[in-house]
């Protein structure tokens, strides 16, 4: 259901495998996130993602459990890459299956929101302008919301 790994992600193969696994559900929504070639820091050569196992995995598992509580789903899949990636490489793959399409769309969107903002990853961009660690701005974490999921563990 959930994988965090430095192995390259083949989103097409992941979707195929997911379709086979979940069998007869009504609808499947999948999202593939790839490394952008440009950022506000310059032209991207490498994106480096760090995780802290097993805390990172535990956080994602909790987000998956929340998603499953909120929407009636017949399947959910998250694959997240760590390590060094080049522009165009797949960083994340999320798929949700449900009897009704809206549940699948919303579940995938909700999980992606978690993965993009609250998931425990540290991100470094190597661009033609230099090397920079990407962190949220102070106002983003003022409410401590970033930690709520892990502290509830």
């Amino acid at each position: 259901m959930m994988t965090v790994s430095a192995d390259p992600i083949d989103a097409g193969a992941a979707l195929s495998a997911f379709e086979t696994d979940i069998g007869g559900a009504g609808g499947i929504v999948s999202f593939t996130g790839r490394v952008r070639p440009d950022s506000k820091h310059g032209s991207v050569a490498t994106l480096h993602l760090q995780a802290y196992s097993p805390m990172t995995e535990r956080g994602i598992e909790q987000a998956i459990a929340q998603t499953e509580k909120r929407w009636p789903l017949s399947g959910l899949k998250v694959i997240h890459r760590i390590g060094d990636m080049a522009p165009g490489d797949t960083v994340v793959f999320v798929a949700a299956a449900a009897m009704h399409r809206r549940d699948a769309f919303e579940a995938a969107d909700f999980l992606m929101d978690y993965l993009k903002t609250n998931a425990i990853f540290w991100k470094k961009e190597v661009t033609d302008q230099g090397v920079v660690w990407i962190e949220p701005r102070p106002q983003d974490y003022e409410e401590n919301a970033r930690w709520a999921l892990t502290e509830d563990a």
Binding site: Y52, P54, K116, N118, K123, E135, P138
Partner: protein, 82 residues
Amino acid sequence: MVQLLYFGRLSDVAGKSEEALTLPETVTTTTELRSWLDLRFEAEGALLEPTVRLAVNNEIVFDPHPVRGGDEIAFMPPVGGG
């Protein structure tokens, strides 16, 4: 011995992403550990920032939390998401 992990930009501050060392007897809490390491790395407060959270044995803790031999202690700057 404790195992120390430095994530994100703190690996640049520490010049390494992890190390194993024996803490001095004066360091028994996360608060004392932050101060001791900040001086050791001449980090000018980078390890003292309240937004840098500490995890002891994979659980986020609040200062001052006891630290002892055998612990894995992680210094975690704010997470950037995936």
